[in-house]
């Protein structure tokens, strides 16, 4: 992986002009980022890409997540054969941290971490989601290991993964109401199965 410089700030690269963002970041990008942005250069699919501190990151349109993931998994130069992690961030009230979130009026961001055992490189893929459309296609068809990660994301954040074979709670009990890691879930709210509500 080539050495990166921390030249460009996130702010300067963000905005609605996707193509321009990608062009701006080319100087600050890696082999992986170049490969992905070249592949999807003629679409609006990649919202934003950077390689800050050597961590390759792309932000993609949530509706196209399967297309992107298929390419990342099966492309001969990328071969991301391992899904390391899948999690969600709730940016309620903090959307200004990433300007593209404000532009899309997105509240959540599904974060995927991918690794290629063959090529020894990594990539972070982020998909912003609006509160009222908190659903995204499941990637269990590409990486079977995403199954329980998506169940956990559903359990704690209430993100619906469409096409998941068994989308039900994994950590909490079925009687639990709501999704406790959402920012609007009160930190003092308790709903035990038995005993006092302490």
């Amino acid at each position: 992986m080539e050495k990166q410089t921390i030249g460009k700030s996130l702010d300067s690269a963000a905005g609605m002009n996707n193509q321009k963002n990608i062009e701006n970041n080319k100087n600050n990008s890696s082999v992986v980022i170049n490969r992905v942005t070249d592949k999807f250069s003629d679409s609006k699919l990649i919202i934003y890409a950077h390689s800050l501190l050597g961590d390759d990151t792309i932000v993609v349109q949530p509706a196209e997540i399967i297309n992107v993931m298929q390419f990342l998994r099966y492309d001969k130069l990328l071969t991301f054969d391992m899904m390391i992690d899948l999690t969600v961030v709730d940016y309620l009230g903090n959307q200004q941290i990433h300007p593209y979130l404000s532009d899309l009026r997105a509240r959540f961001e599904v974060v995927y971490h991918l690794y290629s055992i063959d090529k020894n490189h990594r990539l972070r893929v982020k998909a912003p989601l609006m509160e009222e459309n908190a659903f995204i296609n499941s990637i269990t068809g590409i990486w079977g290991g995403a199954n329980w990660f998506e169940r956990e994301a559903w359990d704690l954040y209430g993100i619906v993964f469409q096409g998941h074979p068994n989308l039900r709670r994994i950590l909490l009990y079925e009687e639990f109401e709501g999704h406790p890691l959402r920012k609007e879930y009160s930190k003092t709210k308790r709903q035990p199965l038995i005993g006092p509500r302490n």
Binding site: L171, L172, Y173, P180, Y185, K187, K189, R190, Q191, P192, L193, I194, G195, P196, R197, N198
Partner: protein, 188 residues
């Protein structure tokens, strides 16, 4: 019947049980001898859920060795156990299981709260964690620590032994834990 046989006639001091058997026996009360036996033969049920389990292994192993106190034989059926060792964080999802295990234990039975999470919820004051198992079942010994050192566990075990030996309440039947559906009782 011949005069002088047991149970009849004049009491012959020279033939009383104490005199005849002299130093061969010790006269005591049944409660005391039973408590003494129980004190040195805990059959514990390890309800291990979290990182405190590592410290439990340490205290059960040869270096600290709870076998010296007669409490080394874990039983993995609550029917055969009389000391419930609750080791590690109890979540609301596990609370019904814990109460079921406690209710399946036969009398007399004792509960050992091992670690801060079991005592009070510890550092977890959130949607998932029971704030102390004494809100569900009666607890005999509280051993805080995150995790507790083996020395304090042994101290707790010795205190429990003293309690078993001296406190007449431990001889009483505790009955099942009467924890029902979730309610709004506050622990003060």
């Amino acid at each position: 019947m011949e005069e002088g046989s047991f149970g009849l006639g004049v009491i012959d001091e020279s033939r009383s049980a104490e005199t005849v058997l002299s130093d061969s026996v010790v006269i005591t009360q049944l409660d005391k001898i039973v408590a003494w036996g129980r004190k040195y033969s805990f059959f514990l049920y390890p309800f291990v859920t979290a990182c405190c389990g590592m410290e439990f292994m340490s205290v059960a192993g040869p270096r600290y060795d709870i076998d010296r106190f007669g409490a080394a034989l874990p039983r993995f059926s609550p029917r055969q156990a009389d000391l419930l060792m609750v080791v590690g964080t109890i979540s609301h999802k596990q609370a019904p299981i814990l109460v079921k295990v406690y209710n399946q234990m036969t009398e007399p039975k004792w509960v050992f709260a091992f670690g801060s999470c079991v005592v009070s919820g510890g550092m977890y004051n959130n949607y998932a964690t029971v704030q102390g198992i004494d809100s569900l079942i009666p607890v005999d010994v509280y051993v805080p620590g995150c995790p507790p050192r083996p020395e304090i566990v042994l101290d707790g075990l010795i205190k429990l032994q003293e309690k078993v030996e001296t406190n007449p309440n431990t001889m009483m039947v505790k009955g099942i834990a009467t924890v029902g559906e979730a309610d709004d009782r506050k622990i003060t």
